[in-house]
């Protein structure tokens, strides 16, 4: 059986797990919760198998060693690995904190990401490695970067939840911050979805899609009316999130997770992610660049954005030491840090040019 069969199986498992986790939240039946965990684990095992199979296929086609045939060389493979890291991080949290509430959020993200990869027609072909990627550093550099990204994703969601729980008044800075951030996040995703549905036929590759058609269906539409309407609808949506944000707070409060636990989870995932990112992302990246290009640091956009991300999280770790910065302010930094991560991962490859443009094929 091929890897794509197991990827499909994992996608279906995550969708089932999502349904189970949500019904667990609604009915609080232990058996449902157990089933949700079991299905998630089954999906995870299947995805692990799929990754290993793809690794083996890659090794076969490229005709090289295991270390170099790591399936992390394009957007498709990296997204799959990202989902894998996210699920394992979630499972660890579930077992450590004995709390299944996050599952209702994580499994839909995983299922959506895998389904998105599937329907978007992202290139799934295994391509042999171009000479620049043939290095033993590939495995350590890319894998550690993605583990760190997944940990930062966890800190983003717990940080956001912390802000939601800890803000009361609509006029408070932290309340406005989280509602606007969440609003923009959803609006951006929705606008990209509309772009995709509108221009699906016209585009040949993912890269072309983002480069040529980003927001063309909405904000950057040829018709001024449509673009103005899009802006108005987005503003209205963000307003609604702001107006009815209290509902989110009620939902999250019902999870039985204390604000302190959320703060601790945010800190822990950054405290583990930061050193991994420093070593795997920056240091191994620099060593590899030194071997491949003869320069350990070139201020190439990918490098610079990694450094910006690094500064964000260094900022987070240091601001916890400052008086008056505990709690909501540092949580906001954690949330913004992940915006930098997303840009480092996707934005740089898709919007800016540079030496690091392998991921967009």
């Amino acid at each position: 059986m091929s890897s794509s069969f197991f990827f499909g199986l994992a996608t279906i498992a995550y969708i089932f797990a999502m349904i189970l986790y949500i019904s667990y939240l609604a009915f609080r039946k232990n058996a449902v919760g157990m089933a949700a965990t079991a299905v998630t684990i089954a999906g995870f095992v299947s995805q692990t198998l799929a990754i290993l199979l793809r690794w083996a296929e890659f090794k076969e086609i490229g005709g090289m060693g295991w270390l170099r045939a790591v399936p992390l060389t394009n957007l498709y493979e990296s997204l799959i690995f990202f989902v894998w890291c996210l699920i394992i991080a979630y499972l660890i949290i579930e077992f450590k904190y004995r709390n299944r509430s996050f599952g209702a959020f994580i499994t839909p993200v995983a299922a959506l990401a895998l389904a998105f990869i599937d329907i978007s027609g992202m290139s799934k072909n295994i391509q042999p490695l171009v000479p620049a990627l043939q290095s033993n550093w590939l495995l350590a550099h890319v894998m550690m970067s993605f583990i760190a990204y997944a940990l930062f994703a966890v800190s983003f969601s717990t940080g956001l939840m912390y802000l939601i729980v800890r803000s009361d008044e609509r006029t408070e800075g932290s309340y406005i911050f989280w509602t606007v951030t969440l609003g923009i996040f959803i609006v951006t995703l929705a606008a990209m979805g509309i772009d995709y549905l509108t221009f699906k036929m016209a585009v040949k590759s993912q890269e072309e899609f983002i480069k040529g058609y980003l927001f063309r269906a909405t904000f950057r539409n040829a018709s001024t009316v449509i673009s103005l309407v899009s802006v108005a609808v987005s503003a209205l949506f963000i307003f609604l999130v702001w107006r009815y944000g209290g509902v989110m707070k009620k939902i999250i409060t019902s999870f039985n997770i204390s604000a302190e636990t959320l703060d601790e989870l945010t800190y822990k995932s950054i405290a583990i992610g930061f050193p991994i990112f420093t070593l795997g992302g920056l240091i191994f990246g620099a060593i590899w660049a030194d071997q491949a290009w003869g320069k350990y640091w070139t201020w190439d956009p990918k490098e610079t954005w990694s450094l910006i991300t690094w500064f964000f999280y260094a900022f987070y770790l240091h601001s916890r030491l400052m008086r008056g910065w505990k709690g909501r302010k540092v949580a906001a930094v954690a949330v913004l840090g992940f915006v930098a991560v997303i840009f480092t991962y996707l934005g740089v490859n898709l919007l800016l040019s540079g030496l690091h443009s392998y991921g967009s094929q």
Partner: protein
């Protein structure tokens, strides 16, 4: 208040540089300006950046031109070398040094300070505490406790006060220095970078096959002497079988010192050659201008009965397939051969992407067969009569493009990276842990009070202490 007044200007400046606040301001400044630097392409053609600005903000060409003018005068078009960006980095370094020096004496004292026994009332106030009561007298309890502490990695000391005995121990006090080691590592990396800027260089060298050079070239064509000679023996692009995907760009290099060969290595991307501190990286390749017809065609013949011979030829030459009566005449050469739908051959590129030669084969004056032999497809050289002719290379018309670098600071950068890894590990995955275990005899029972503290990862230490407590209870029962 009075102490505030005594501060001199020097103290005030010191305080500013020692503050975490300045660190955060500098983080933000470097991050924010770097964002601009990634959007505006650095050291690029102005037209390119104008296009970027027009596309990104939807403004007119004229407006983009004037915006770029402003950005250019502020140094944003080459911002990583601009004085103000370097000033940020220097402030960052100064902040790191001074804030570390400011805090180090206190932390050093903490690290040096040995753990001391403390009264039970202090233990009560500790963040981690545990108390158990064991029935009956237990003379060996102290040994059980000491053994439990040892198995948790502590080396306990002992103090007696009245009716109670206290075992106390600590470990990892040096990990408090992790932060400063991390800070130090950044300074080491910056020092390595500065050494690289002042004592190193980046240059390039385009070296045709068969030629030797004793210099490399900097950006504006300035020659930089190497101190030795380097020769390119051959350059090849290898492809994955049956695809157009390049597998490797490979240059065979020889280093010569005073005419003597001292080193030979085939370099590929990710595997450079280093000699006397100068490193050569595979970076590009191309055709030597006006070289057509100057190269050598290298062929290898294999006769049916196993004889083979390597030949260096030119277009128009005739050769004998050794061991047979067959002769071949090279009629044509194409650097990039392809066939159209009608099966006619044509050349599709100037580069050597699919080199091929056309050969007429004759035997005793009569034409036997003729056709194209392609370098990348050795099967095309298998002749109908069982003999074989391989087209190995068209040598001497390509050059290899190499990055040439000398950077004596790299050693420090790598050292800094190692120090940083150690520092970060100490900071985030280790902690200073202390434990006090007091045993008091009371009304014939033993009261055991455990107090502990950790400066980080308290929760996991708490679990360890719980385990220790239960191990003691179990050990006690087992002893009965």
């Amino acid at each position: 208040m009075t102490e505030e007044k005594k501060k001199t200007i020097f103290d005030r400046i010191w305080d500013v540089f020692a503050s975490v606040k300045l660190a955060i301001v500098i983080f933000s400044l470097i991050a924010a300006t770097s964002v601009v630097g990634t959007i505006i392409e650095q050291q690029a053609d102005p037209e390119k950046n104008i296009k970027v600005l027009v596309k990104m903000f939807g403004i007119g060409h004229g407006a983009a031109h004037s915006i770029l003018g402003v950005l250019d005068s502020l140094g944003f078009t080459d911002m990583y070398h601009a004085w103000w960006f370097l000033a940020f980095l220097l402030t960052f370094a100064a902040n790191l040094i001074i804030c570390s020096l400011d805090r180090l004496p206190r932390v050093w004292k903490l690290v040096q300070e040995k753990i001391r026994p403390i009264p039970a009332s202090y233990v009560e106030k500790m963040s981690i505490k545990h108390s158990i009561t064991l029935q009956g007298k237990e003379p060996r309890l102290k040994d059980t406790a000491a053994a439990a502490l040892k198995s948790a990695g502590f080396k306990p000391a002992e103090a007696t006060e009245g009716q109670s005995v206290q075992l106390y121990a600590e470990k990892g006090n040096f990990t408090r220095l992790g932060v400063y080691i991390t800070h130090l590592s950044i300074l080491v990396i910056l020092a390595g970078a500065i050494i690289g800027i002042f004592f190193g260089y980046n240059a390039f060298l385009n070296l045709p096959e068969g030629e030797t050079s004793s210099v490399s070239y900097k950006d504006r064509g300035t020659e930089v002497p190497l101190g030795f000679d380097i020769r390119c023996d051959n350059f090849e692009v290898e492809y994955y079988p049956n695809t157009e995907m390049p597998k490797a760009y490979k240059s065979w290099l020889t280093v010569l010192k005073n005419g003597q060969e001292v080193m030979k290595k085939a370099i590929v991307v990710n595997d450079p050659l280093t000699y006397q501190g100068i490193t050569f990286y595979q970076s590009s390749f191309g055709m030597v201008p006006n070289s057509a017809g100057r190269g050598v065609l290298i062929l290898k013949t294999h006769s049916k009965d196993g004889r083979s011979e390597q030949l260096n030829l030119k277009v128009g030459d005739t050769f004998i397939v050794s061991g047979t009566a067959l002769t071949g005449t090279i009629r044509d050469f194409s650097p990039a051969l392809s066939f159209d739908q009608a099966g006619r051959a044509f050349t599709y590129a100037e580069e050597m992407s699919n080199p091929a030669i056309f050969i007429d084969f004759d035997e005793n004056g009569a034409r036997k067969f003729s056709g194209w032999i392609l370098k990348r497809f050795p099967n095309t050289g298998a002749l109908p009569d069982g003999n074989k002719v391989e087209f190995l290379d068209y040598w001497g018309v390509q050059y290899t493009g190499m990055q040439v670098r000398k950077d004596p600071g790299v050693f420090l950068v790598y050292l800094g990276c190692i120090i940083m890894s150690i520092g970060l590990y100490m900071t985030f995955f280790m902690s200073h842990r202390r434990v006090w275990l007091t045993m008091t005899e009371e009304k014939g029972n033993m009261n055991v009070l455990i107090g502990a503290s950790a400066n980080r990862n308290r929760v996991s230490f708490e679990r360890k202490i719980e385990k220790l407590a239960s191990a003691m209870s179990a050990g006690h029962k087992g002893g009965k």
